[in-house]
């Protein structure tokens, strides 16, 4: 049993957006009998965020999408932020930890 406590001071609902994405990716798999490739999933998620940003109550969610493309046998990582910015990166981080991580890796 899950209880939900609402606070409407912030535009948020990060978990709700993640679950929305999860279910849509799953729906695609069920309908088409094969899963979305990482690049396609990233594009779909980016579009969902971009449309949300232009709505009355946008989601402020930052994402890192990692996937292994079984067709080309290569891993991919996509950095996505709440403004609908998406880029493929070799490494990525979000939040305050990003300052530490990127100062180590970004050279």
């Amino acid at each position: 049993m899950t209880k939900q406590r609402n606070t409407d001071f912030y535009a948020g609902d990060t978990v709700q957006f993640a679950e929305y994405v999860e279910r849509n990716i799953r729906l695609y798999q069920i309908r088409n009998l094969y899963p979305l490739r990482p690049s396609a999933a990233a594009s779909w998620i980016r579009r969902a965020l971009a449309e949300s940003l232009r709505s009355r109550k946008p989601y402020s969610v930052n994402l890192l999408l990692g996937g292994y493309d079984t067709a080309s046998d290569s891993p991919h990582l996509y950095w996505v932020d709440y403004l609908g910015t998406m880029t493929e990166v070799p490494f990525g981080a979000h939040g305050y930890g990003a300052y530490f991580a990127l100062s180590l890796l970004d050279r």
Partner: protein, 56 residues
């Protein structure tokens, strides 16, 4: 603020995220899983302002 990391290597990818759910100085949860498995080959780390807290 929450933190998440990910790194691509040769033939693999690793992802890590913290597990706190906080608002300002108040920690609401310390066991929040912020990495979702979307499919057998897809992972998504999400961070941001929680609009609602789900209490199990």
């Amino acid at each position: 603020m929450e933190t998440s990391f990910a790194l691509v290597g040769k033939g693999y990818l690793i992802m890590a995220a913290d597990t706190t759910s906080a608002r300002s100085i108040v920690k609401m949860k310390i066991d929040e899983d912020k990495i979702k498995t979307l499919s057998p080959h897809l992972l998504m780390a999400h961070s941001g302002e929680p609009g609602a807290f789900l209490i199990e």
